[in-house]
Amino acid sequence: MARGLRLSSELIAGVLVGAVIGWGIDRLLSTSPFGLIVFFLLGFVAGVVNVVRSAGVAPGRTGR
């Protein structure tokens, strides 16, 4: 359970942060809904990158 929660929290964090950034950009620049779409997808990618790094499949940023 610990490992599952770790990996899922990484993915959710990436998606969540991406969505929040996109929503914030939409609010500030009134580009709705494109900021949310673009940053949600980028957040999803970042979440997957986090999961892959945290699972130790790919070498991390610091060559861990």
Partner: protein, 249 residues
């Protein structure tokens, strides 16, 4: 049915004062934090009081915890990381001791509230950010630019790296919080099965053996998770500090 969420309730013990209209109360959570810090202080002060060449029980525990955290920092953040030893040691000991206290029935687990773990994760995040810029200046941005990436897809990769960096405090805090919350709820739910089945008389007593055995097994698992999550939190802190010390490696 016993309410499995009730164990996380914040209860006011007394009021310290007011900031604006907001009441600042001393709660059971604060009491457990103070208790944890007192226990750690007792362990550390008691550990160094004897100063024997052959350590006694308390001194050996204090030395073991020092060596454990020191090795963790040296292997994850290098020798330079040792200047963060007090920081990492405080976080690790606070979480480990408070999580272990939380295993005892009728106690409160401070890490089961996301505000506590989020505050700790933000502390780590801001430490990394501020120290990274203080030490490396603008070279800190190299963290977001991996080497050997074609210029065409570089903006995309940088955006992903920035989001990945910003998502760190979120996953850092949610991981610890979710583990403690889920573990304690599971324990409570299975424990309530024992009492509910016990109400059915003799057949229920035999039926209650299964959830009782599960509760015992889960308590052992929770003991492991309590320590492991404190360790994971501390080791991620070391890895993030390593990024602040050596960006772009």
């Amino acid at each position: 049915m016993i309410d499995p969420i009730e164990q996380f309730a914040i209860k006011k013990i007394f009021t310290i004062g007011h900031i604006g209209n907001q009441e600042i109360a001393f709660t059971n959570s604060s009491a457990y934090m103070f208790g944890t810090v007192a226990l750690i202080s007792l362990l550390m002060i008691g550990g160094v009081a004897g100063k024997q060449l052959v350590p006694g029980r308390i001194q050996s525990m204090a030395e073991l915890s020092y060596e454990f955290v020191a090795n963790m920092i040296r292997s994850n953040a290098g020798r330079e990381g040792m200047k963060f030893f007090p920081f990492v040691f405080s976080i690790f000991m606070l979480l480990a001791v408070s999580n272990l206290i939380g295993i005892i029935p009728y106690t409160f687990t401070i890490a089961s509230h996301i505000i506590v773990t989020a505050a700790l994760a933000l502390l780590v995040f801001l430490t990394v950010l501020i120290y990274g810029f203080y030490k490396n200046g603008l070279k800190f941005f190299k963290l977001f630019v991996p080497s050997g990436i074609p210029i065409v897809i570089l903006p995309l990769v940088v955006a992903i790296e920035v989001i990945s960096f910003l998502s760190r405090p979120v996953s850092h805090s949610v991981r610890l919080f979710a583990n403690m919350l889920a573990g304690h709820i599971t324990l409570k739910v299975f424990a309530s099965f024992v009492t509910m089945l016990g109400a059915f008389g003799l057949v229920g007593w035999f039926g209650a053996i299964l959830p009782l055995a599960l509760v015992i097994a889960l308590t052992a698992l929770e003991l492991l998770v309590a320590f492991l999550q404190a360790y994971v939190f501390a080791i991620l802190t070391c890895i993030y500090i390593n990024d602040a010390i050596h960006p772009g490696h």
